[in-house]
C-alpha cells in the first residue's frame, strides 16, 4: 500500500497546471482531492510520474447561483456541497448524493470535479448531472469549452476530457418552481460504491403535469447510464404510482449491470426498478406534485 516515487507540483493557476500537463503528457495526473487517484497509486495500479495538485487553486472552489445557472467550482469539496444552504434547499438531489459518497473523511477531501470527471461508473454525482442536464466547463491549451454531461462519459475511466484539459466548473440549470429531484442509493454498507443508485429529476407545470424528466443510473453499466425511455414515459402525464412503477421497469431495462460481489445482475436490475419508483415518488413530492 505504498506508491512508487513521483514528483509533485502545486501550481497557483489553472493555466500553469495546463502547461505542466502539456509538458509532461502521459506521465502526469491531476490531483484534486486524491480520494480515487491515491488508492490506485497505493495499489500500484496507477503509477504517474508526476502529480499536479490543483487543490490550492482557490478560484476553483465556489457554489454560486446566478439568473441562469448554478455554478459549482471543480475543486469544491463534497462536504462544502453538502453543507451549502442553496444546494440543500434548492437542489436536494445533489445533497442526497453528496451525503452518500464514501465517508466523512473522503467527503472532506474529495471534490465535485474529481467525482464527475474520474469516469468510474460507481461515482455518485455523474448520474445527478445527467438527470438534471448539467454541462461541464473544461479548459485546455486552446481555452475553454463546455461539454454536456450526457456527452461526457465514453467508457469506464474514459471521458471526453482531452489529456491536457482540466475541468473547471459544473453548470446546472437554475432550479425553478415545479422542479424536484432525488438520488437514491443502495450500498452493501456505509461508504461503499452503489449496488445501484438512481438519480431522477422532474419538472412540473403549474397543473402538476410533468414537462421534463431525467433519470440516470449509477454503477449498473460500463459508465453512468441515462434511462431515457423511463424518463420520457412520464412527460405529459400527471403521474400515479402505476406510472412510477412502469418507469422503474423501463429504467431496469436500461441498466446493463454485471454480476459481481455486489450481487447478481438480475438483482441489480430489480434494485434499479425499486429505487427508480421510490426516487420518483420523492422527487414528485419535492416538486410539489400531489397525488
Amino acid at each position: 500500500m505504498i506508491p512508487p516515487k513521483f514528483d509533485y507540483h502545486a501550481p497557483g493557476t489553472v493555466d500553469e497546471a495546463i502547461g505542466l500537463l502539456q509538458k509532461n503528457a502521459g506521465d502526469a495526473k491531476v490531483l484534486a482531492g486524491g480520494q480515487s487517484l491515491l488508492p490506485l497509486m497505493k495499489l500500484r495500479l496507477a503509477e504517474p510520474k508526476m502529480l499536479i495538485d490543483i487543490s490550492r487553486i482557490a478560484k476553483l472552489s465556489y457554489i454560486q447561483e446566478d439568473p441562469e445557472l448554478l455554478r459549482v467550482g471543480a475543486a469544491t469539496k463534497i462536504n462544502d456541497l453538502n453543507d451549502s444552504q442553496v444546494i440543500r434547499s434548492r437542489y436536494p438531489m445533489l445533497a442526497d448524493a453528496g451525503a452518500h459518497i464514501a465517508d466523512p473523511l473522503v467527503r472532506n477531501m474529495g471534490t465535485v470535479g474529481g467525482n464527475v470527471c474520474h469516469g468510474d461508473p460507481g461515482n455518485d454525482l455523474p448520474a445527478c448531472m445527467l438527470a438534471i442536464g448539467a454541462r461541464y466547463v473544461v479548459r485546455g491549451p486552446k481555452g475553454d469549452r463546455t461539454i454536456a454531461a450526457k456527452e461526457f462519459y465514453r467508457d469506464t475511466f474514459v471521458t471526453a476530457l482531452d489529456p491536457a484539459e482540466i475541468l473547471t466548473e459544473v453548470q446546472i440549470p437554475k432550479a425553478q418552481n415545479g422542479d424536484g429531484g432525488a438520488y437514491m442509493k443502495m450500498e452493501r454498507k456505509v461508504g461503499d460504491f452503489a449496488i445501484a443508485a438512481v438519480a431522477v429529476h422532474l419538472r412540473l407545470d403549474s397543473k402538476g403535469t410533468v414537462t421534463s424528466a431525467g433519470i440516470a443510473l449509477t454503477n449498473v453499466g460500463p459508465t453512468v447510464l441515462m434511462a431515457g425511455k423511463a424518463a420520457s414515459s412520464l412527460v405529459g402525464h400527471k403521474p400515479t404510482d402505476a406510472d412510477f412503477l412502469a418507469a422503474g421497469k423501463l429504467a431496469a431495462e436500461a441498466a446493463q449491470p454485471a454480476s459481481d460481489m455486489r450481487g447478481p445482475a438480475e438483482f441489480k436490475k430489480g434494485i434499479v426498478q425499486t429505487l427508480t419508483r421510490r426516487a420518483l415518488h420523492l422527487a414528485w413530492g419535492r416538486a410539489g406534485g400531489k397525488s
Binding site: 500500500m1 505504498i2 512508487p4 516515487k5 500500484r44 443502495m186 452493501r188 454498507k189 456505509v190 461508504g191 461503499d192 460504491f193 449496488i195 460481489m261 455486489r262 450481487g263 447478481p264 438480475e266 438483482f267 430489480g270 434494485i271 425499486t274 429505487l275 419508483r277 421510490r278
Partner: protein, 779 residues
Amino acid sequence: MTTTIHGGIGQSLARKEDARFIRGKGNYVDDIQLPGMLFLDFTRSPYAHAKITAIHPEKALKIPGVLAVITGKDLDAAKLAWMPTLMSDTQMVLPIDTVKFQGQEVVGIVADSRYSAADGAAAVEIDYEPLPVVTDPVKALLPDAPLVRPDKTKKSNHIWHWETGDKAGTDAALAKSDVVVHQDLYLPRLNVSSMETCGCVAQFDTMGRLTVWMTTQAPHAIRTVFALVAGLPEQNIRIISPDLGGGFGGKVPVYPGYVVAVVAALKTGHAVKWVEDRMDNLMSSSFARDYHISADIGATKDGKLTGLRVKTVADHGYADAAANPSKFPAGLFHIITGSYPFDKAFVEVDGVYTNKPPGGIAYRCSFRVTEAAFTIERLVDGIAHKLGMDPAEFRLKNFIPPESFPYKSALGWTYDSGNYAGALNLAMKMIDYPALRKEQVEKRKRGELMGIGISSFTEIVGAGPSAQFDILGIKMFEGCEIRIHPTGKVMARFGTKSQGQGHETTYSQILAEELGIPAENIAIEEGDTDTAPYGLGTYASRSTPTAGAAAVIAARKIREKAQKIAAHLLEVSPDDLEWKDYKFQVKGVPEKSKTMADVAFAAYTNPAPGTEAGLEAVDYYDPPNMTYPFGSYVCVVDIDKGTGQVNIRRFVAVDDCGTIINPMIVEGQIHGGLNMGLAPALYEQITYDENGNMRGNSFLDYLVPTAVESPHWETGKTTTPSPHHPIGAKGVGESPTVGAPAAIVNAVVDALSPLGVTNIDIPIYPWKVWQILHDKGQN
C-alpha cells in the same frame, strides 16, 4: 451500611488505560522506533498453487536503500524454512520450491526505509509454473483432487478425523424420533480485522540477546516456541507485547513475518521492523471458521429433544495452523449440545487441506464455540418450526433445568452453573415477546415480512484444567504476581495480555476488593516476558476465569501474611483478627484495626518476628473446570421486499457471566461482541474463485460493519455465579459474538417462513433475500 472501597468489584470504574488511548498516547508495535532500524516487506505469490522455478532479486537489490533479500533457500540453510504449528502440523516460513496460497510470503526484502522495502518487493521477479488448485474442501477429499501437501507421508488432503459421543446410540435415538430435521450449514471464512494488523520489531543486542516487540496475545508461549524452534536459550529471548489494537484470536499464531524479521535482524545486525498492511493481513493472517456442517436433530412429537448428530468438514487451508488446545483439533466444538439435555449426541469433524491460507483461529470465540452455538440454535429453531411450536416455548420446554447443575453433557462437558429459562424469560419480557408475535400475525395478513429470532446459547470459556488443556504440552494455567510497596501501593503482573479488554482496570478492581487498597493505587503490568509471571495469554475469554482467579488467590496469600504482621502491630494473636471492611480488626473491637497500607509499611520497616520482610505473593492458577457463561438474545427484523434489505428493528441481549467486576466494561464487551456477531450474519466473508484467487482483499469488499450498520443494542443481565471460581466470575468478552448470529438468522428465516423458507446461508446479503422473494413472486 456496606463499606466499599474505591474501584472495588461491581463498580463502573472508568478504564485506566483509556487516558492514554483516547489521547493517541498508546504504544503499539508500529510506534517502536530504534536507532538504525530497518524495514521488512514481502513479495507475495500471485498464484494459489505453483512451482517456483526461479527467483530474480537483482532489480530489487539495485534499488537505493534495499540491503538484502531473504528466500526460503536462505532459511533452509538454517533449517528455518518450515516451522511447526500449534496443532503439530508444519507450515512454511518462506517457500523453498512451491507456493500454496495466493498472497503467500515468498521473498523478504530488507531496506533502510519502508518505502524502499515496498519498491524492492515490487521489483523482485519470480518465475512460477502454475499447479492445479483446490479451494473447496469437499472436492479436496475426492480421489483425483490435486494434492496440497505432497511433503506429507499421507498422500491425501485429509488431515485428521476427530469424533466424540455415542454414534450407535445417537443413530438409534434419531431413528426412533417422531421428527428429525436435517440441516446443512456453512460458516464462511472470516478475518478478525483488528484495527491494528500484525507486526513486530526484532533486535539482537551486543550480547546476542533477542528482544522482539510483537503483536501477540500470548508472549510467554511465543518465547518458549522460539526457544524450542530456533534453539535459542530461553533466558536470551525477551518478548514484549506492547499495547495491542485488538486480537480476537488473530494474534495467537506465529506468522512467517515474525520469524523472517528475527532472521533479518540476525543477518544485518540491525533492528528490523515488519508491520503488515491491511491487504497483507486480509490475504495471509489466520482465518476463522470455514466449517461445512451437516446436522440432524430429533425430537418426540410433543417436543422433547432426543438426539443430535453432526458431521463437519473443516477447511484448514494448506496447513492446520489452528490455535486450539493441543488435545482438541476441532476446539471445543463438542459444546454443540448447547443449553439442552440431549441423552444422545455424536460429533465428527474431518480436517482438510486446500490451497488457502493456513489457520484457523477463533474470531472472538472460545475455540469453535460459535460454530457449535450457531448450529444448535439454528437446529432447535428448525425442529420447533417443524413441530409447529413457538421457538421460545420449545426452548423453555427443553432447557437443562437450574437444579441439574453441575450438569454433565452427552459429549462429556460438566457445566458449572446456569439458569437458561431465567435469561430467556427476561429477554422475552424486555422485548414484549407476546406483543411482537401478535404484531407479526397482523403484518403477515398484510403481506409484510417481519421476523423474530431467538438464540439461547451456552459458552464454554476459561481454558482450562490441566488434565485436558495444554498447548504443545504447556498446561493452560495462568499466573499473577503481586508486590505491595512500603507505602501501600501495588504492582501486579500477569501472564495474560490485554488487547483492549481493559485488564488494567478489571484486575485492579479484583485486587482492590481483595487487598483493601484503592484501585487507583494499583498498577497492572502485562506483556513483558522478562518481568511478568508465566501464563498462556489472553484469548477464548480466559483472562478473568484464570488470571482473575490467580489474582484473588495471590491476594489472599498476601492477606495471610499481612494478618500476622497486623497482629504484631496490634499486639494480639493473628487468630484474634478478622478481615472486615477492608482492614484487619480485632474481633469485637473494630476501633482497633490496621489497614493493608499500615501492614505494608511495617512489612519493610518493622517486620513481625519470624516473618520474612516484604509483602509479595505469586499464584499459578489451574482452574478446576471451565466456566459456562450463557445468555438469551431476541432479534426482530423487518424485510424490505423491494430491495431484500434486512433491517434489525430491535435486539435484546440478556447475558449471564456470573459475578460482574466492572459493569461498564462488561456492557462495552457485549456491545463490541454483538457487532462481531452481526458481522458474519449479514456482512463478512472471505471467498475464493476456483483458481484460488481471493475475491476482495481489501475493506472495499470485506465488509466490516460500522456504527451505521449497528442496531441499537438493548442489554440485560442475570447473575448466576460460577461455583468453582473464587469470586464467581465466568468471562464475557465473546458470548455475544457466539450468540448473536443465530438470533439474527433465525429472525430472517422466521420472516421468510410463510414463503416456505427454512434456511438462508450467511452472510445474508440483500441479493439472497431478494432472490428468494423474486423466485416466490414477491417483488
